[in-house]
């Protein structure tokens, strides 16, 4: 009995000391994390807006009164409008495959879904140039039929799809796997066809995860630089998306317009962050 008491010191002393230590280390860890994030994320964000408004509201508005800028915004919206719905469908299909079926090569497909996360976007762009470019594998055939993919919208869309493919699938697959398919089976025995089953049972179960994936996919498709840069050719008023256009402006020392347009992307990031937090809470609550 005495030995046990020796090993475990009186309770009244120990906890206070423990909290004191953990308070200090916790404080250290939190302040390091907050300081790092402030330096790396918040400060740049502040700088972007500060530069954008260097010449006040008028300078800011003026930046958008420019044909090339408006064209870049319009092109980016177009690319996102094509990419996001397609990748939502692809992502749903991929997540469905991975979570509902057992088949050979399933593990390979699962890691393929993550490919865009560990392959450099530049490589994604290069692959399309090698396939569809003038000197590429399908180049001559495409030229014969007058189809232009590289240095044109299709190429930009293709490489954006490649880069953003992962989001919806990656978020949904584990969620759908965990939920199982008992409810879907119940729906089928009650006479629901495939569409009714998806619409009334599956979709309500995954809607917050799906929304989360779509938001991330959208943010990335509007902000993608590397892959698009390779295939677009930077043709002003033609194939310059917003990120590429920002670089062009910056390189031409047009700082206020460059940061004004950049602030749009920053705003998109902030909105994404807010929506992401909201959907994550809802996902947690559901």
């Amino acid at each position: 009995m005495a030995a046990i008491i020796d090993i475990h010191p009186p309770r009244t002393v120990r906890p206070r000391k423990a909290t004191a230590e953990s308070f200090f280390s916790r404080w250290l860890i939190i302040s390091t994390a907050v300081g790092f994030m402030g330096l790396m994320f918040v400060l740049p964000l502040v700088v972007i807006f500060q530069e954008a408004f260097r010449k006040g509201w008028e300078g800011f508005i003026e930046a958008f009164d420019d044909r090339a800028t408006m064209h870049a915004i319009w092109l980016t919206l177009k690319v996102a409008a094509i990419t996001v719905p397609l990748n939502t469908l692809f992502g749903l299909a991929a997540a469905w495959c991975v979570s509902r079926f057992q088949f050979r090569g399933k593990r390979f497909l699962t890691s393929l879904i993550e490919l865009p996360l560990w392959v450099s976007p530049v490589i994604a762009g290069m692959v399309y140039v090698l396939l569809f470019g003038a000197q590429g594998l399908f180049g001559p055939t495409l030229k014969e039929h007058g189809i232009k993919i590289i240095f044109a919208l299709p190429g930009i869309v293709l490489s954006t799809i490649f880069v953003t493919f992962t989001f919806v699938a990656r978020i949904l697959a584990p969620q759908m796997e965990a939920q199982g398919q008992a409810e879907e089976e119940a729906a089928m025995t009650l006479g629901a066809n495939g569409f009714q089953m998806f619409w009334r049972v599956t979709l309500p179960k995954i809607k917050w995860g799906l929304l989360y994936g779509i938001i991330l996919c959208n943010a990335r498709s509007m902000g993608e630089f590397g892959a698009v840069s390779v295939v677009s050719g930077h043709i002003r008023n033609k194939t310059n998306t917003v990120p590429l256009h920002i670089e062009v402006l910056y390189n031409e020392y047009q700082f206020v317009p460059a940061f004004a347009v950049a602030s749009m992307l920053a705003l998109l990031a902030l909105v994404t962050l807010i929506l992401k937090t909201l959907t994550t809470t809802r996902r947690g609550a559901a």
Partner: protein, 244 residues
């Protein structure tokens, strides 16, 4: 409606879960499928419902003489109550029960008032009046079980497949529900196949009992036949009676 199961086998990878099963459930019969855990009871039920497909070959399944071997679950529309309920968690109790009616094709679908009336009637039947607007997470196990049953019954199935309907409930609730099911079956005479690993339950409820072991049917017979003439060691041992 009768169910004919003819030479059904099921293999998962290299594991044979069902071995050449033959079984007939007559119209209006209440048959119990009895067997130890892992004997293939759920697998057989799922194959009958069309949620799983038997190994290709000579096996076939007929509903009332019509071959449904290659029909999907939603074409067969067998009422199925799952071992773990599988209620729609994002729908209320009333919406759960109404589901089967709401997904009917427009021509045969009852109108909204008829559906509401049918749901109210079913809620009364399962003694859950006033629970219609609750969500499944707000129900006890026994209540969930009854909702699952009502949901399956709403579409008026010709065949009812129950997978351990009272499995997760305490002895007292089991007894009440058992009585309730027997009475319900007497009233409606829906052809019913229910799974259990509780022999008392099987003997008390069923017209006939099927004993399954390692995917093989050991014996089919009335409770009395089984008790008095167990066919082999396993049946005798499992039913805890002496072989004569």
């Amino acid at each position: 409606m009768s169910i004919h199961i003819h030479h059904i086998s099921k293999t998962f990878g290299s594991f044979q879960a069902l071995k050449n099963v033959d079984l007939e459930v007559k119209t209006g019969e209440l048959v119990a499928l009895l067997g130890p855990s892992g004997s293939g009871k759920t697998t057989l039920l799922r194959i009958i419902a069309g949620l799983e497909f038997a190994d290709a070959g000579e096996g076939s399944i007929q509903f009332h003489g019509t071959d449904v071997t290659n029909c999907s679950a939603y074409e067969r529309k067998a009422g199925f109550v799952f071992q773990n309920y599988a209620l729609f968690n994002h729908m209320t109790v009333a919406e759960n029960i109404a589901f089967g009616l709401r997904v009917m094709p427009r021509v045969t679908r009852p109108d909204r008032e008829e559906i509401d009336r049918a749901v109210a009637e079913l809620l009364r039947r399962i003694a859950l009046e006033g629970y219609g607007s609750r969500y499944p997470s707000q129900l006890s196990g026994g209540q969930k079980q009854r909702v699952a049953l009502a949901r399956a019954l709403a579409v008026g199935p010709q065949v009812l497949l129950l997978d351990e309907p009272f499995g997760a409930l305490d002895a007292k609730v089991r007894k009440t529900l058992r009585k309730w099911l027997r009475q319900f079956h007497n009233e409606t005479k829906v052809t019913t196949l229910f799974v259990t690993h509780d022999q008392d339950e099987a003997f008390e409820l069923a017209d006939r009992v099927v004993v399954l072991h390692e995917g093989d049917i050991q014996q089919i017979g009335s409770p009395q036949q089984l008790r008095e003439h167990p066919k082999n060691e396993f049946v005798a041992d499992f039913l805890d009676c002496v072989m004569i």
